[in-house]
């Protein structure tokens, strides 16, 4: 299975540079997370990968083939803005979209039946899309991306609007695709999902890559500078600690806190303060920062660099 290569790609709209020299490589058999705040250039990048728009500069290859009508056939794309023909029946819709991907009428029909069964939705075949609930429509939309057994899958926020049960179902299908050796691109700003699913990640802000690499590596790069604390009793000691500049409180709730150690603060300094201030310390752990924290740090740092430049 081929890898997806995005090489020095730039896309401009009118006066805005939406994507600015982005390079990334998504390997087969791995899930690649494309992250970024809203308006960072995720959708613009994905549209170019899906060959819906063309880059102004740079090139995009799937294996050794430049992306275009031929790679579109081998690709499944779930856009963030979902859309189906509302008046069309589910079965017909799936068959039609699969046939647009080059499947024969018979193969499209068989794949539709098979996947509807897998999704416990055989009964929907004859229903119009508009008769389905929002969650059901989401599942139908998801099916359109996998029906034709594509080698490259692009999911833009696949879990939005799904209940936990259905999210779990999609989760298992996505990891299955990875196991089958396919290249999976997963765009999201839900960090806990990215952390759960992705093998590699790439963080985009203002059209530029500001952080990239395998998830483990990226997390290791940010070091073990985070302390998680479960405790009983008052919290004034924590405020004092933050006031003197030793830590930054990331999460604070009743009986729990997540702190980032500022430079030069040893973890035991926190433990000592907690032991002195709290009634009881239930848990104390030094760990890697959560991805969301890395995300915020990286974006802030990039913004500072931009301001300096």
């Amino acid at each position: 299975m081929p890898a997806l290569h995005v090489e020095h790609v730039t896309k401009r709209y009118a006066r805005v540079v939406a994507v600015d020299g982005v390079s990334l490589t998504a390997e087969p058999g791995r899930i690649f997370g494309l992250l970024g705040p809203n308006g960072a250039g995720k959708t613009s990048t994905i549209r170019m990968i899906a060959a819906i728009t063309a880059p102004d500069e740079g090139r995009i290859r799937f294996g050794d083939m430049p992306v275009g009508p031929a790679t579109q056939q081998r690709m499944g794309y779930l856009p963030e803005e979902r859309g189906l023909y509302r008046k069309l029946r589910v079965g017909e819709q799936l068959v039609y979209l699969a046939r647009l991907k080059g499947l024969s009428a018979r193969a499209a029909e068989a794949a539709t039946r098979r996947w509807l069964e897998r999704f416990d939705a055989t009964g929907w075949y004859g229903n119009r899309v508009e008769e389905l609930s929002k969650g059901m429509q989401q599942k139908v939309q998801f099916l359109t991306t996998v029906l034709h057994d594509p080698d490259l899958l692009i999911f833009d926020e696949p879990f939005s609007g799904l209940d936990p049960l259905n999210a779990e179902l999609l989760h298992s299908v996505i990891t299955e695709q990875r196991a089958a050796g396919r290249t999976v691109l997963f765009a999201s700003h839900r960090m806990e999902q990215v952390e759960q699913l992705c093998d590699d990640l790439c963080l985009i802000a203002h059209g530029r890559v500001i952080l990239a690499g395998p998830l483990r590596e990226v997390k290791a790069r940010y070091g073990r500078d985070t302390v998680a604390l479960d405790f009983e009793g008052g919290i004034t000691w924590l405020d004092a600690l933050e006031a003197e500049g030793a830590v930054k409180v990331v999460v604070r709730s009743a009986g729990h806190a997540t702190l980032r150690l500022n430079e030069g603060t040893p973890p035991r300094r926190v433990l000592e303060a907690a032991l002195a201030g709290a009634r009881e310390v239930v848990r104390f752990e030094v760990e890697e920062p959560p991805l969301s924290e890395i995300f915020v740090q990286a974006v802030e740092q990039a913004a500072a660099e931009r301001a300096a430049a």
């Binding site: 899906a50 728009t53 189906l84 039609y96």
Partner: protein, 439 residues
């Protein structure tokens, strides 16, 4: 299988199966037939068969005149000649004993006095009957008084016919200008309306795909050009299906309604019979149903129908591509108003010149307009129904239509390609122009 074909097929099936399509396709011919038949039926079924009693007061001193007036009055008039003063006649009219009274004054024959018909308000039919009866009787009387023999009178009443013959390369044909004008105009208008309706359908379809965001899914499977062409062709095919169904239904309904109509109306429906019932009047112009059918058939010959369909398709394709481009630039139909203008204007041109082309189908301006791609579908169809258009002109019109179609579809596809992915901001004509130029 080509994607354009797949998209067109899906578009056609989706539309043809919709309830709206089935309803409009089946109901429209019924409505047309009903709209044509109802007024006739109303006239026939409410025909006035009451007998009017009318008193004749003859002051001309010519007793024969009263008889010929009485004879000339249409059916439904009963004439009495009571020797009563006008006042008592008036009183009887008011009481309802009489429907009216007709006074033929002394100076009527000399033309110095007017005949007068007194009633409580005569209907249009009664008015006309009385008027023509008096006129015919007085004329006949004057002619006779001037010494005309029966032979002279017969000569005056003898029919005068003029038949118009069109000289064509296939030989002389009976001129059916009247039929040609009507049929040609209807075909031209039909093309105009159809192009507009289906063009707007394309625009709506594009807007719908854009607002439902399905377009992004499709664009990841097919090129925008394929999507646009598939849509345009699919809706065009829908139009042809609708036309064919209407045509078939009208033929069937016509076959059923014709005899039905004749049955309802009986002899009264026959205009020749009506005319014959009035002595002293020139017979009604001969309407030979067979000749009329032949004339319509000549205008609707298979070749003509073929060019009609071809011109519909040509005009439709030309405009549909532009409508698709306009639709791609907006998110709701109301925003499309200003952008539609450049598409609608060239479509309106032929409407302004329709009358001119009908009057002078061979004038240079008419020829020019029937070659100009935007007006060709409508005006060439009209011209072809009215006059023998040289083959090269028809060919040239099609060639120009095809060339401008290729050019416009290229521009439209470029606008469409950008437009379908644009959300949020209202596009202006200037934006569309910029999109068309972006590589």
């Amino acid at each position: 299988m080509s994607k354009i074909f797949l998209i067109a097929r899906s578009e056609l099936l989706r539309r043809v199966r919709s309830k709206t399509f089935v309803l409009t396709t089946l109901l429209a011919p019924l409505l047309i037939v009903a709209a044509t038949l109802l007024p006739i039926l109303v006239v026939v079924l409410t025909q006035d068969d009451t007998v009017r009693t009318v008193a004749l007061v003859n002051q001309t001193g010519e007793p024969a005149l009263a008889d010929s007036v009485a004879a000339a009055l249409p059916d439904g008039f009963r004439v009495v000649q009571p020797a009563l003063p006008l006042d008592s006649l008036r009183a009887r009219v008011l009481r309802g004993g009489l429907d009216g009274f007709l006074v033929l004054p002394r100076g009527l024959l000399a033309g110095t006095e007017e005949a007068a018909y007194y009633s409580r308000g005569a209907g249009l039919g009664a008015q006309e009957g009385v008027r023509s009866a008096v006129r015919d009787a007085v004329r006949l009387h004057r002619i006779r008084a001037a010494g005309a023999t029966d032979a002279v009178i017969a000569a005056l009443d003898a029919p005068v016919a003029l038949s118009l013959v069109t000289v064509t390369e296939r030989g002389d044909e009976a001129d059916t200008a009247f039929v040609s004008i009507i049929v040609g105009m209807m075909m031209g208008l039909l093309i105009y309306i159809a192009v507009l309706i289906y063009g707007i359908t394309v625009m709506r379809g594009v807007i719908e795909e854009k607002t439902s965001r399905i377009v992004e899914v499709i664009a990841s499977s097919a090129r925008p050009f394929e999507l646009m062409m598939g849509k345009v062709l699919g809706i065009g095919a829908t139009g042809l299906v609708q036309f064919a169904t209407w045509g078939a239904l009208l033929v069937v309904l016509g076959a059923v309604a014709g005899p039905l109509l004749a049955l309802t109306m009986g002899a009264a429906a026959d205009p020749a019979a009506l005319g014959a019932g009035m002595p002293g009047r020139p017979p009604a112009p001969e309407v030979d149903p067979a000749a009329l059918a032949e004339a319509i058939a000549a205008v609707l010959a298979p070749g003509r129908l073929l060019t009609f369909v071809a011109f519909f398709l040509g005009g439709y394709l030309l405009c549909a591509a532009l409508f698709a481009a306009v639709g791609s630039a907006v998110e709701q139909e109301s925003d499309a108003q200003t952008l539609q203008l450049p598409v609608m204007l060239p479509l309106l041109v032929p409407m302004f010149f329709l009358q001119y082309v009908i009057d002078r189908p061979d004038a240079p301006l008419s020829v020019g307009l029937s070659l100009f791609p935007f007006s060709a579908p409508m005006l060439m169809t009209v011209r072809m129904a009215m006059t023998a258009v040289p083959l090269w002109q028809v060919g040239l019109a099609f060639l120009l239509l095809a060339l401008s179609f290729v050019g416009l579809i290229w521009v439209a596809a470029r606008i469409y390609r950008v437009g379908i992915l644009m959300y949020g901001k209202k596009a202006t004509l200037r934006d569309l122009w910029r999109w068309a130029r972006t590589p």
